[in-house]
């Protein structure tokens, strides 16, 4: 097993560390570094920030996994990964990563007005969603953002009553029905296992 860097979105930090522990990986085997989750509100900034880190750490690791999906980068991330011989997570976003593509599609098919939160978003809903979308300052924008949503779906990574309550409170704040779905870490586990066990990419 070689040295591996996981450069993760801050929104996945806890989950990456949890999976790393579950896989029994030491710090020598896997280094985890994170970028701020707030970059999601400015996705054009994700690829340049990833490139900066990969340039700075070039040559330190045998394998690099960038723990981002497509994440609204408009295709800007993949050329950076190719340049630095890195890979990224499967799926376009962390909702499909955690739920799995098939289940994610089934949830959408059941109700296309589904708004998703992960444990991370349940924990930081006020800062990243409510304040991030300016709803604290401009509450009249609520129907502009959420007028077509019908339910908030909490894709839970952990069995945590507090997070479930926070997600439910978020649903109430948005005026949406609440659905709690324990999905665990989904395809994140396989992605981290592969990058530590695979050959140099």
């Amino acid at each position: 097993m070689g040295r591996c860097l996981v450069l993760a979105c801050g929104a996945l930090a806890q989950e990456v560390l949890a999976v790393k522990a579950a896989l029994g990986l030491s710090d020598a085997e896997m280094t985890v570094q994170c970028l701020p989750a707030e970059l999601h509100n400015r996705p054009a900034a994700i690829a340049p920030r990833v490139a900066d880190v990969l340039a700075a750490r070039r040559g330190e690791f045998d394998r690099v996994l960038v723990a981002y999906g497509e994440c609204g980068t408009g295709g800007a991330l993949d050329p950076v990964l190719a340049q630095y011989d890195a890979t990224r997570l499967p799926h376009a976003h962390c909702y499909a990563l955690f739920a799995g593509a098939e289940r994610f599609e089934a949830i959408i098919a059941e109700n296309i007005g589904s708004f998703f939160v992960t444990d991370f978003l349940a924990r930081h809903f006020d800062r990243l969603v409510w304040q991030g979308l300016g709803l604290d300052r401009h509450p009249h924008l609520l129907p502009v953002y959420f007028g077509h949503y019908r339910r908030l779906v909490h894709l839970a990574q952990s069995d945590d009553a507090d997070l479930r309550a926070r997600a439910e409170a978020a649903a109430q704040k948005l005026g949406l029905a609440f659905v709690h779905l324990p999905v665990g870490h989904g395809d994140l586990t396989a992605a981290l296992a592969t990058v530590t066990e695979g050959d140099r990419v």
């Binding site: 609204g72 599609e105 959408i108 077509h148």
Partner: protein, 228 residues
Amino acid sequence: MSDENDVILDDLSDEDLVDQMKDDLYDGMAAEVREGTQILLRRGWEAGDILSQALVEGMRIVGIDFRDGTLFVPEVLQCAGAMKSGMELLRPILASTGSRASLGKFVIGTVKGDIHDIGKNLVGMMLEGAGFEVIDLGINNPVDNYLAAIDQHQPTVLGMSALLTTTMPYMGVVIEELDKRGILKSLPVMVGGAPLNQEFADAIGATKYGRDAAVSAELARALVGQNH
């Protein structure tokens, strides 16, 4: 931009009032933009001149700062709301006088199976701010909705939006249908949405890929031969 709370708009010269309206629009002050529009109309300004010199120019500055990361989505929505308050007064006048102030009609809608319309709404507002007449089809549009709107409105550009990887291929279905009917030859199609990229847009035969709302408005202007 402006911290002035006590400006009497009616006391300003035309030139200062237009500048103040641009500041107010930037600050998302809908009532002030509406009042400024009323004053200019009262002073005998043509609706098209108010639109182009105050509102469109104001939104152009907003677009630049949005593109450059100085303004973010909530602020831009506020700005767009302010512009809309002025547009509500101008639109009926422009329509009744058959004004050619518009750059043309832009039909826009979120594709079938997708209800995510924040990006589409932002694009619509930026397009209106850029001088287009926007026909918004809303969300969850099957190909028939686009065809009917094209038939009814004879747009200059068609725009489609999707947020989901599962719905974005439907843009290709619409473009294929437009191609089959010979519409694509004369109607540029713009696509956008978080999971899209230029490669996808090229693959489905879209005319342009709009990475974000500000870029989309610039591209649309370029498509009709209007560039700043």
